[in-house]
Amino acid sequence: MKTLEFLIQRLAKAVMVVIGVVILNFLLIQLAPGDPAAVLAGEAGAGDEQFIAQLRAQFGLDQPLYVQLLSYLKNVIAGDLGFSYRNHVPVADLILERLPATLLLTGSAFVFSLVLGITLGVIAARRRGSIGDSVIMTGALVFYATPLFWVALMAVLVFSIHLDWLPPFDMETVGAGYTGWARVLDIAHHLILPAVTLGLFFTAVYTRLTRASMLEVMNLDFVKTARAKGVPRGRIIRRHVLRNAVLPVFTFASVQAGQLVGGAVLTETVFAWPGIGRLMFDALLQRDYPVLLGVFLVTATVVVAINLVTDLLYRIVDPRIEATG
């Protein structure tokens, strides 16, 4: 039906948002003191003005701002994210190499936090007022209030150093040469700590959200109808309450998807996870602007894509959207 048209409209909007983000970031970065040429020269241990001027010309930093912006936009549209003079590689290569790690990390954290959060939220809502409810909600509150990096440090201390259950960092056992399933298991083993650490805060968020949403839906009329029909309580929760209650949780989660990448900056640092969060942070400190812009562009694209997919899924799950959207 109208899904194709909806898709095209949303795609157009998504592209606009991404371009807007690119321009916003581009202008923002211009405000920074210190230019990449100076940093490079500094790292080289010396540098005369001529040398720096030569670098600036090579990076195109001697062009007027709008020319830089236009040529950047033009290149981006052509699929070229620029060249990292610091790393001596095309930005796209650099990001594509690191993106899967971040997607894996944030994706696992996302799924973990959603599944656990919703499960705990449902349990808490069903047993409202019970000890179980109190324990879950207190736990959620505590993790909601604990700094992510702190959890990460403690997790390493406990699970890697003292208990020696989980590897404290890295994405896989370097040099082990695992292939196939052995490698998958190895990566999964390494993934547990960072994904859980990153996901805990969001688990807390989703638990609270799910519980509130469940309680709200439980008060709606159609739940009363279901009871009046003689539907058993378990089935009411499953078939009637849950589906309606998780919709807002999903919406929220999709809007929040980008925040996971923000959290990944911290997680990837502590757990030596070779993702783009750290790439971004390093690029920022080293004034590697093409990389920084590229990371933001890719993140924005991923977030926008997630939102798009959510919207599409929503149209499947919630039939009302099509009529109003």
């Binding site: 920074a32 003191p33 230019d35 005369d48 610091r86 390493v156 404290p168 960092f169 370097v174 070779p274």
Partner: protein, 525 residues
């Protein structure tokens, strides 16, 4: 003593060093094995000619080689050059190259590569070499495939110290000639002459090098594989060593107190050797263009107010020695015969009173160098001490880019900096004091703006001296003047500790330490 004679025949038996190493280890080298190390921070590129940061040299040093190397006593050692000779007038240097050297792609290495490296590549891409080349070098020629001749415009006593890995990595002409060096895709798959070849670099994760089977030293290297792991968090790096994931920690990989803890572990050896060529010296850079640091008495007061023993002990956990002047005590031409500044707050306050400066009227911006928490602690300590003299101090946090920029534009009050000595004051020290080096655009020039024509003269005389004792005399006098005038607040000489497992043998052999080609390193079974 004629300087050139000292270096006339430098072909030192490599076996001597190897045997010295093995006699210490008390058993003979066994080939094979994998060595795990950490590259921190992750190098931007492995092409040493384009970047000479520590980790780049650490990894790149296994791929690329330079003409010469230097012993722990700063004695000149052969590398790609098996012999070298200087003319009596100090104007002609002739290098004889090793035989049978091949690039990793199988192409033969020759004098043409050295000429290309010196005359084209490094002259364009390497800020320190380009200074030397443009100032002193007249011509670079190769009369035969195994000979390179440098003709100088004027004598330069430090010339033979300019061929260390970070200053003069030899690059393959056949790959770089006629290309844009920075964007050449070959930078991603570096081709050198070293004992290990580039295999894989998983960014953010590890760099993997493998044995160069065609290495020019027969039967070397011993090791099969090198892994350089990327672990961005300092605490995690400590854990990595503790858990056995890595075998070696380079100086700076973990923080001072971790060094203390890790070195006490079972089966672990530590050494502070292998930094003699660099001998980093940390100093307080004051901007002499502005009050209050335009006043010599204030600078002397600052020197008295800062307890350098405290800094070394509590901020750097003992990994250093308080500095006494512009030269590191481990380098040639160092003299103790200078003005000293023991910690004495009362003396400092008296000097301030004498200077006529009203400290409470000055708000000093203190810009720490953004290289890690110990530097931050040091800034906090220095602030605390300056505040005791009555100054108001604001710490101005900057990142690497901001620091570089502010220092290069002379837009600072006080900051920290450090200098590598590179074996000779003409290379590592003079640059911070010469008035000719008051140039914008680099954080490693004379950024404080110190200018003393007598000091200029002394440094120039020493650099152009053909006789070593002439140079020593000039440097001694320069050190005397400088320690009296305090253009820079020398804080301490870093003592970087290399931590390794006992089974790792022969790792630190020369004055450039772990940056040296690891062709003699082996692992005890």
């Amino acid at each position: 003593m004629n300087m050139s004679k000292r270096f006339i025949y430098g072909l030192v038996s490599l076996a001597t060093i190897a045997m010295a190493g093995s006699s210490l280890a008390q058993n003979s080298p066994t080939p094979g094995g994998t060595l795990n190390m950490i590259a921190q921070p992750e190098p931007p590129v492995l092409m040493v000619g384009l970047n000479s940061q520590g980790p780049t040299l650490y990894v790149g040093g296994q791929i690329y080689q330079s003409l010469l190397s230097y012993g722990k006593d700063l004695k000149i050692l052969p590398s790609l050059a098996k012999a070298w000779e200087a003319s009596d007038d100090g104007l002609t240097y002739t290098f004889t190259l090793q035989d049978g050297v091949k690039w990793h792609d199988g192409k033969p290495f020759s004098a043409d590569d050295v000429v290309f490296t010196a005359d084209k590549f490094l002259r364009e891409a390497h800020p320190r070499w380009r200074y030397i080349a443009n100032t002193y070098v007249e011509t670079i020629t190769s009369p035969s495939p195994d000979k390179v001749i440098f003709k100088l415009k004027k004598p330069f006593s430090a010339f033979l110290y300019a061929f260390e890995l970070s200053s003069f990595p030899v690059v393959p002409k056949h790959i770089y000639e006629g290309t844009d060096y920075r964007t050449n895709p070959a930078n991603q798959t570096p081709i050198g002459t070293g004992p290990f070849k580039f295999k894989e670099w998983k960014r953010g994760s590890y760099i993997h090098l493998v044995k160069n089977e065609d290495y020019w030293k027969e039967g070397k290297p011993y090791l099969d594989e090198l892994y350089f792991r990327i672990v961005p968090d300092a605490a995690s790096r400590g854990v990595a060593f503790e858990k056995g994931a890595v075998d070696v920690l380079r100086g700076g990989d973990v923080e001072g107190f971790e060094v203390r803890r890790l070195s006490k572990l079972e089966g672990v050896t530590t050494t502070t050797e292998g930094w003699e060529m660099y001998s980093p010296l940390v100093f307080l850079q004051m901007n002499l263009r502005k009050a209050p640091f335009d006043n010599k008495l204030v600078r002397k007061a600052v020197m008295h107010a800062i307890n350098r023993e405290f800094i070394v002990k509590n901020v750097w956990f003992g990994l250093g020695e308080p500095a006494t002047g512009p030269l590191a005590s481990t380098t040639r031409f160092y003299t103790k015969d200078t003005t000293s500044y023991p910690f004495d707050l009362n003396a400092a306050k008296k000097l301030i009173a004498e200077s006529g400066i009203k400290p409470q009227e000055h708000t000093i911006r203190l810009m720490p160098i953004p290289y890690g928490s110990q530097w931050d602690r040091m800034a906090e300590y220095v602030r605390q001490q300056l505040e005791q003299l009555g100054f108001k101090v604001n710490i101005q946090a900057v990142d690497a880019g901001g620091w570089s920029q502010a220092l290069s534009d002379w837009n600072f009050d006080v900051t920290f900096n450090f200098t590598y000595q590179y074996g000779d004051p003409a290379l590592g020290v003079a640059r911070h004091y010469l008035s000719s080096n008051i140039i914008k655009g680099t954080p490693f020039g004379n950024n404080g703006g110190y200018s003393n024509s007598k000091v200029d003269e002394l440094f120039l005389a020493a650099a152009e001296a053909v006789q070593t004792d002439q140079a020593a005399k000039a440097y001694a006098e320069a050190q005397k003047i400088l320690t009296d005038e305090v253009p820079i607040g020398w804080l301490f000489e870093q003592r970087n500790v290399t931590i390794m497992r006992d089974k790792v043998k022969n790792l630190v052999r020369t004055g450039i330490g772990v940056n040296e080609s690891m062709d003699e390193v082996w692992i005890a079974k």
